[in-house]
Amino acid sequence: MDRADVDTRIRSLIEPFNKKGVEIAEGTTFAADLEFDSLTVMDFVAAIEDEFDIIISMNQQAEIETFGQLVDAVHKLQAG
């Protein structure tokens, strides 16, 4: 799966969590822009893990702040 496919699939996974309909760009942050709290993060990460059949440990999550970084990380994980 190329990066664009990963991007598209994550965009659709975000929708139910994007309560305020924030426009998603590469630099959109989960904490500040999307206002995800820790429970939302857990549910959202679980949705991504199930979709791509990967693990994103909390250690890895700590390095991911923006949508673009998440797409990169998932792209790399599902290729490996």
Binding site: L39, M42, D43, A46, E49, D50, D53, M58, N59
Partner: protein, 401 residues
Amino acid sequence: MSATDLFSKFDEMIALRESILATGVEDPYSLVMEKVLSPTRAICNGRDTILLGTYNYMGMTFDDDVIAAGKQAYDEFGAGTTGSRVLNGTFHHHRDVEAALREFYAMDHAMVFSTGYQANLGIISTIAGKGDYIVLDIDSHASIWDGCAMGKAEVVPFKHNDIEAMDKRLGRIPAGAGKLVVLEGVYSMLGDVAPLAEMVAVAKRHGAMVLVDEAHSMGFIGEHGRGVCEAAGVIDQVDFIIGTFSKSVGTVGGFCVSNHPKFEVLRLVCRPYVFTAALPPAVMASSAASIRKLMHGSNKRAHLWENSRTLHRGLRALGFQLGTAEPESAIIAVVMPDLERGAMMWEALLKEGLYVNLARPPATPANMTLLRCSLCAEHSAEQVQTILGMFERAGRATAII
């Protein structure tokens, strides 16, 4: 206000605390017990108060034998150890309390830490290191999270008590990586119990080691009081049980019991065990006496369960929303609509002469505000009725029911 400094990160917490106190309620986090009259009664902030938030499940704090054992150790061995367990801090009593734990759990090894927090911190951080994976429940206690962080393992949480979510995460761990599953028998916020029979089976199918924190079940869950893993019939599959002396045992300290053949090496490599002073001999002597008495506490156990059922039924009948549909442990959590009204209700109860724990985010699941009640085997049936009357009056005064 000072300029930005290292304390600026606490501004939100300071503001939250000030906003609660500004409503005029008593500070829920600076209660003082001026006199403790029994396991269930104290003078708190000048009032004669029934204690319903102490985790003193079996009421051992005032047990005659427990106190006598401590006094004797005080007289004969002095006030403190002034040293680490691996240097000058292991007295006869530390060995004896570890023997009592081996008897209680029928396990080969027992290791005593200075607190329950340190037991989780030490065991988890030592056995799961860089490159290993820890799969744990999202509602785990702070001491478990801190142990995960200290060991630098890859940390993978799953939704509370969700067997399938746990199974999936275990299945995705890279082949060859070390795996530790961390669970609790009773979760202390809502007082709910984990489905350990299923969860331990899943963990074992994936070849993971299993650690279960049984802090809130010792002495009254399972045939021998060994906890939820005993009641679920999987205690022989559990690699490590973590427990504490500061709840049912009635003193202070933490421990790990295990049948692992190499367990004793942990005494040399576990930093929260090595680099701290051992508990005072009086605490160890009292703890050993208490643990041995808990092995024969079936009458007290039955009364504790009766209290839990009566309080749960009564609160539900009054219209309170509770953390569990049925009483699953000796913790009954009463769900409050928000923090402000939770604090009001907490204060109204204190003025009635009842102490419960006010639990608030972020320590609580789903950002709930809870009034957490923990029952004691020494609460009389009359006291439980008195408690229900206090809840009714306070609940109506604050319009929560």
